[in-house]
């Protein structure tokens, strides 16, 4: 058995109103997207989410046996997030770390691997996913690319866990349409073709393979667009829980962020089906919410969606870029 001992979502304070993006290039926008602050990066955002998850859990940082992170926008080829995060959290130096990248399924890969690690070792593991989606001024997806992070603490058992992981399934189809080079905005391809031949068969197969008798009441979907995500949930009759209209697409972090939001938002005993669609296929995870998720400590994702400040268009572009110098001298 694997239980979710702690959850933490992180949504940056700043938002861009999608109408403000539309005003630059024409058209109309609805909703808003999260923009990281100038001094935020992948490690700091993952730290925010994971700190919340650990504070809500019964697991001490020094007892964490593995830290697995996922990102599709980490700008570094050699640097890593997991080891930096592990040090910040105060884990033991014999902690196992892993960085998952290369596909929007990365967060699901990290989550499933962490679950298998917990089963194999009977020790707790942390999963964190974080992304800052790059944008191109005037690009088709500029208004809906967001940023955020989510983290889960998994362990073999606990009284009153926040959730239990009931089943997982995957469909590795090899399908590829949307793709993106480092630091660039994506080449989306034909959305209708991707929905019909990429998302729908992969997501439905992944759900079929996540063998559960439970009635999935709520659905969470990670996919790079509202309609793609909706398609990913078509095979299950579930109420969708999503941060898309407030955060936008936060890359592979969307899976964990929205799963945290769902666990915080629904009643104990509810069952959630979560699916991550990305390059090469889809993964499904089924969790049942436990009593431990009722009134969690710290800021919920819903509270962070409310606590926000809007930035002008130029800041939305500027804050996503690396900068050369800030604050204090390099002592």
């Amino acid at each position: 058995m694997v239980v979710v001992d702690g959850i933490g979502g992180y949504v940056p304070l700043y938002r861009i109103d999608r109408d403000d993006v539309a005003a630059q290039h024409g058209g109309r926008g609805r909703g808003e997207s999260a923009v990281p602050a100038r001094d935020e990066n992948h490690v700091t955002m993952a730290s925010e989410a994971t700190t919340t998850a650990l504070e809500r859990s019964a697991t001490a940082a020094e007892d964490v046996a593995a830290v697995f992170t996922a990102s599709i926008t980490d700008p570094f080829a050699e640097h890593g997030i997991a080891a930096q995060l592990a040090y910040r959290l105060g884990t033991s130096t014999d902690v196992r770390t892993g960085d998952f990248q290369g596909s929007a399924r990365a967060a699901a890969d990290a989550l499933v691997t962490a679950g298998e690690y917990v089963r194999a070792t009977d020790q707790p593991a942390v999963v964190a996913a974080v992304d800052v989606m790059p944008v191109e001024s005037g690009g088709d997806d500029e208004a809906t690319m967001g940023a955020g992070a989510g983290a889960l603490v998994l362990r073999p058992d606990r009284d009153d866990p926040m959730a239990t992981v009931d089943a997982v399934g995957q469909a590795t189809t090899g399908f590829l349409e949307r793709h993106r080079e480092h630091g660039e905005s994506a080449t989306a391809g034909d959305a209708r073709f991707e929905r019909r031949h990429g998302v729908a068969p992969a997501a439905s197969t992944a759900f079929d393979r996540a063998e559960t008798d439970a009635d999935l009441e709520y659905g969470v979907a990670s996919a790079p667009g509202f309609r793609l995500a909706r398609t990913a949930l078509e095979s299950i009759d579930a109420e969708r829980v999503s941060t898309f209209n407030e955060v936008g697409y936060a890359g592979t972090a969307t899976l964990v962020l929205d799963l945290c939001h769902a666990i915080e938002s629904v009643d104990a005993g509810s069952t959630i089906g979560a699916v991550a669609y990305g390059q090469g296929g889809a993964d499904a995870v089924v969790v049942t919410v436990g009593d431990g998720a009722t009134d969690p400590d710290g800021l919920t994702v819903a509270a962070q969606l409310e606590a926000k400040e809007y930035v002008p268009y130029v800041k939305h572009l500027e804050y996503r870029e690396r900068y050369d110098y800030q604050g204090v001298p390099n002592a």
């Binding site: 304070l13 602050a37 100038r38 001094d39 935020e40 990066n41 490690v43 700091t44 730290s47 925010e48 700190t51 640097h79 930096q84 040090y87 910040r88 105060g90 800021l299 509270a303 962070q304 409310e306 606590a307 926000k308 400040e309 690396r322 900068y323 050369d324 110098y325 800030q326 604050g327 204090v328 001298p329 390099n330 002592a331």
Partner: protein, 139 residues
């Protein structure tokens, strides 16, 4: 060879580790000194303590004239951070403010430590703590 300061003080910068003088209880941050700054004990015996991530602004200045690539106004505060276990004295910590408007800031304001990018070493970000008014204040 001790390496750059951001390596030597990683535990302080990333985990808010401080040093409590076992003679007088003074809490030193970020430096672990040979001589206690308050009681003069030398060589002093310091014990590692963790600081809490919420504290109170003791005083602050607002920097208005900085190089072009630094956003202004940029407040810089002295914050008293208690120890995480609630025991002993607080540490006096210098820190930049982030995501905080000037009208949200005064002496006595409660702030929380936020793990942020402080500067960079070439392309590599160096992360440590800044302070901000608690996020719930923004709701």
């Amino acid at each position: 060879m001790s390496g750059p300061r951001y390596h030597r003080t990683r535990a302080q910068d990333q985990r808010l580790l401080a040093f409590e003088c076992q003679s007088c209880g003074y809490v030193s941050f970020p430096d672990e000194r040979r001589t206690c700054k308050r009681c003069g004990d030398a060589p002093a015996t310091f014990e590692e303590v963790r600081l809490a991530e919420r504290g109170e602004v003791e005083t602050f200045v607002v920097q208005e004239y900085l190089p072009d690539d630094i956003e202004v106004p940029q407040p810089l505060a002295i914050v008293d951070l208690p120890q995480a276990d609630g025991e002993g004295e607080s540490a006096r910590v210098y820190g930049l403010l982030t995501e905080t408007e000037l009208d949200e800031l005064s002496v006595g304001t409660e702030v929380e430590a936020r793990f942020r990018e402080l500067f960079d070493d070439g392309e590599r970000p160096i992360n440590s703590f800044k302070f901000a008014v608690p996020r719930e204040v923004k709701r």
